[in-house]
Symmetry: C2
């Protein structure tokens, strides 16, 4: 927290839900940023800065123009002008603090564990913004692996005629199997589902479950493993063949 305002018991003015400064001096920027963190606002800072990170790894980033976001949940992100990924960040649950260092505006974010520290040092501030935002809505997403599973449970013949699902997330020594069932001949079947084109790791995953189940059941039990995905790479196909596993093309 900021080292100010221990007892703001006087009813704060119903401040604007948005407060911004353009090209503020560093003290004004610090004040607005500190107030934003204090109030649990979303804080944005744009300007020329350097960034250092130390934690699971460590990084240095020289001067450049970037966009910093500090969320009320403790997330911090430093975005450059390119890329979907922030160039540096701190996960939710971190604590942010703002200060002046050598006449620079410094935002420091720490968390623990693991111990991680992100320091963003602005030598020039183009913009500071404090936003009182709330979001109650939930994202409704379709086309996931879960939908593929529902499709199969709805109509098991999509996998093959006579296939009967018996369980989902069935536990084995190697982990939980996506769909567990049996074929028309009563043989055990394991499905591994992928919402998109499957690669070698999907095959390895399926193989782990098949091996584990074959061991869990009788030594003589035959266990079929079927990879269900819209498509599979050549290498994945080859690995399937080598392991005596099968493939069924099916999309979410």
């Amino acid at each position: 927290m900021t080292p100010t305002d221990p007892d703001a018991d006087a009813p704060a003015a119903p401040a604007d839900r948005v407060r911004t400064l353009t090209r503020p001096d560093h003290e004004a920027a610090r004040d607005l940023a500190a107030a934003a963190l204090q109030r649990g606002d979303l804080l944005t800072v744009v300007g020329r800065c350097t960034v250092t990170y130390e934690g699971r790894a460590a990084s240095e980033l020289g001067p450049g123009d970037r966009h910093l976001t500090c969320k009320p949940d403790g997330t911090a992100m430093v975005h450059s002008d390119e890329g979907r990924q922030p160039v540096n960040w701190q996960p939710p649950g971190s604590e942010h603090e703002v200060s002046l260092h050598d006449g620079h505006l410094r935002v420091r974010s720490t968390r623990e564990p693991p111990t991680e520290e992100l320091v963003v040092d602005f030598e020039r501030v183009l913009h500071v913004g404090a936003f009182d935002v709330t979001d109650e809505a939930d994202l409704a997403l379709v086309g996931t692996e879960e939908h593929l599973r529902e499709r199969i449970l709805d109509d098991p013949a999509l996998v093959e005629p006579g296939f009967t699902p018996l369980a989902t997330e069935r536990e084995t020594a190697a982990g939980a199997v996506d769909v567990f069932g049996e074929d028309a001949a009563g043989r055990t079947v394991v499905l591994e589902l992928k919402r998109r084109r499957a690669g070698p790791d999907a095959v390895s995953q399926l193989a782990r479950y098949v091996d584990a189940l074959a061991r869990d059941l009788h030594a003589d039990a035959e266990v079929r493993g079927i990879l269900v995905a819209p498509s599979a790479t050549d290498r994945a196909r080859r690995l399937l063949d080598e392991r005596g596993l099968e493939f069924v093309a099916l999309a979410p």
Copy 2:
């Protein structure tokens, strides 16, 4: 870049590197946003909006306050007040456009392939910002898997006395092996490196390489596989044992 302005030979006014509006009406917001996209600025919009996405999957998001970023490289991100991940986004290379719909400010981002469309519809705009930002600096990151590899090549005895690296990224039928070498007895050794605690997938990956190499070489060739990581989960240890593979504890 924007697909316009073939001959902007008239010297553009040395416009501010930052232009923002607070609680603009939708037309003013549209004008500033359009100018920002035109100029290749970083565009930010904060306000109450709904979001729809359709492409590799599809999603709907009801009304809430969010922060939209459009980068000059075609990236778009919609951030809510929580989480490190944007609630919706568009990858770099997309094209953004801004318009008025039913009196709302609408930002639409599309790309191809795959065909994907993101529509952000603001019913209330708290803030619009246009920032002329550049970032030449490169991130210097340490503690990656590559550093672990360099550590091993520097001092192969960290793996075991007598270990001799012969190649990195050596190709096999199953893909490229992290480190390929031989032990003191001249046996072929495959290393799979992980910068952090290793799980079952790391073991499967190593097993794929060992199997492929044993096949590529002679049928009677013995190939040792060693997982090198700071630590490994119980399940990973068990899988290593089952497959006759080994583990060496080593951190980047």
